[in-house]
């Protein structure tokens, strides 16, 4: 299980600020697929951050149990 945080409009899409997702394996690509299956994120202008760094959605690497994962819509501060 991985904990995922949602911000801005993405928290409205997910109807929560945070949830746990079960993945078939701990790869970043599995996470992206699971998020797309559940929320169609390929069609949304969102970015995924792992441990507070934006990662490209086609990157591949392994996640760890307590990685901090966040799905972020476009930034609009100021």
């Amino acid at each position: 299980m991985l904990r995922i945080k949602y911000f801005g409009v993405m928290a409205e899409v997910a109807r929560c600020d945070e949830e746990k997702l079960a993945l078939k394996d701990k790869s970043f690509s599995s996470l992206i697929s699971a998020l797309h299956e559940k929320y169609a994120i390929y069609n949304l202008p969102v970015q995924v951050a792992v441990n507070r760094k934006i990662r490209k959605q086609n990157e591949n690497f392994n996640l760890e149990e307590n990685d901090e994962i966040a799905v972020l819509p476009p930034f609009s501060g100021g």
Binding site: R52, E68, S76, G77, G78
Partner: protein, 153 residues
């Protein structure tokens, strides 16, 4: 590791302000620099909420939220870059969280330097990087209670 962690927590405290930034808060920030007698020039940027009309509906307020932990890290990086790039004495960045009404201030960038030459450019650099790289999210609220998510242009 502990000291870096506390440093980040401290920076988070300094950046985000609940609700609008008050003119008196800006005055206090200015007053705090009057003991620094090597400063010759300050430049301040203030972002104010406009009551824009969108499709005939009037905007009333913006509600801001942020991914605060990532924002703190990003702001730390932006600050380090600005200190490396410009000859500055001090640099402060504040942003509102929660509701800020039209006419109120939501964003305050404050740079100080011995001489004036670079302060304008440094402020512009900070404002642009905060707007494009810091995970802050604005929800525009209309008089009708409808809303839309803000997009920076």
């Amino acid at each position: 590791m502990t000291s870096i962690y506390y440093k980040k927590i401290n920076e988070m405290k300094k950046v985000f302000i609940e609700g609008a930034i008050q003119p008196g808060f800006v005055a206090e920030a200015i007053a705090k620099h009057q003991s620094k007698k090597n400063i010759g020039a300050h430049n301040i940027f203030l972002g104010q909420i406009r009551a824009d009309e969108v499709d005939g509906k009037q905007m009333n307020a913006i509600t801001y939220s942020a991914y605060e932990e990532m924002a703190a890290e990003k702001l730390h990086e932006i600050r380090e870059d600005a200190f490396a790039k410009f000859n500055l004495t001090c640099m402060h960045i504040y942003h509102s969280l929660g509701k800020v009404k039209a006419g109120e201030l939501c964003f305050f960038v404050f740079v100080s330097s011995k001489r004036r030459k670079q302060v304008y450019q440094a402020t512009e650099y900070l404002v642009n990087r905060v707007k494009s790289e810091v995970p802050i999210f604005g929800k525009e609220i209309f008089a009708s209670k409808e809303f839309q998510w803000k997009v920076n242009v």
